[in-house]
């Protein structure tokens, strides 16, 4: 299975994503420079974290118009898997692949720490290796992670099971939602209506090895591999 990892000017998690795919999972990975016009045969596209275009205007707003995004959007419309992590989530929202937007953290502080997450739906392309209610630890590192959408959109996301990950306060009370950034309804990750695009602020690609704090992110990659290979 071939993963295409898009590098925008200002991306800084593309190497982490490459390491996760190539070294941890042993799958093919290729970098896709944002000026390219094809996905080089990638089965799965990763929009990695970082600060594309210096977050000018709004995070993701300018990256969304990079030439490669034309192909990424076409891939998504064909049902191809797209994984948007952190800045990649912001780009996916700006590109209209996912609803809503990520705004400046409520605290106005950049948050960089491991967070606790609860799996809300495991019947998705990206979470089928987890159990519903399973608690995960992954790092976040962002200044603009406050998921925001109108009530109608939030209700629809919840009703359709598109909210796949929420932040929780502590494993001791997994039903108490809390968010490090002020996200509406403590949303950490959502999938598109068709289910083939996942956007999340936490970094699964940096949670691939217990030695480095957590291997809870492996399931995201194994989930999509299991479905795409099937």
């Amino acid at each position: 299975m071939k993963f295409g990892i898009v590098t925008f000017p200002g991306s800084n998690c593309d190497y982490d994503a490459y390491h996760a795919v190539a070294d941890v999972l042993g799958e093919d990975a290729v970098y896709l420079w944002h000026k390219e016009h094809d996905l080089a045969g990638s089965d799965i596209v990763i929009l990695p974290g970082g600060f594309s275009y210096g977050d000018y205007l709004r995070p993701g707003a300018i990256a969304r118009f990079s030439p490669i995004m034309h192909e990424v959007i076409a891939h998504a419309k064909r049902g191809g898997p797209v994984l948007g992590i952190c800045n990649g989530f912001q780009i996916a929202c700006e590109a209209g692949l996912l609803p809503g937007v990520l705004l400046r953290n409520e605290s106005l502080r950049f948050v960089s720490e491991p967070v606790r997450l609860r799996v809300e739906n495991n019947d998705t392309l990206f979470t089928n290796r987890y159990e519903v209610g399973q608690l995960l630890t992954m790092p976040v590192a962002h200044g603009d992670g406050r998921y925001t959408a109108d009530d109608e959109t939030l209700d629809r996301l919840e009703g359709e099971g598109q909210v796949v990950l929420r932040y929780i306060h502590s494993p001791a009370d997994a039903d108490e939602y809390w968010s490090p950034n002020g996200s509406m309804r403590a949303i950490a990750g959502i999938v598109s209506t068709a289910g083939n695009v996942l956007g999340l602020m936490p970094h699964p690609e940096r949670a691939m090895d217990a030695l480095l704090g957590s291997s809870d992110g492996v399931g995201v990659f194994e989930s999509v591999l299991a479905r795409v290979a099937a």
Binding site: L57, R58, A61, I62, F65, E94, P99, G100, V101, L103, R104, N105, E106, S107, L108, R146, T148, A149, D150, G182
Partner: protein
Amino acid sequence: MSRFKVALHILPRRGILDPQGKAVADALHTLGFKAVEDVHVGKHIIVEVSAHDASAAERDARAMCERLLANPVTEDFEIAAVSAS
């Protein structure tokens, strides 16, 4: 074609949490500006564009706001001024 300068205001939509505006309001209160009731922080963008006339320049600027300069989910924009440049 003439050259126009279009000034745009982009502001967080009312009702959406604006922590930056709140932080600035708190700082103004601390400085003694007790009369400050609310602050909204947005962007002021100036686009210089060639167009046949001012209304064409404004129409172009509106399209730019809708497609890129403002996020329709959380921001409102207004064309503050169009002037010959």
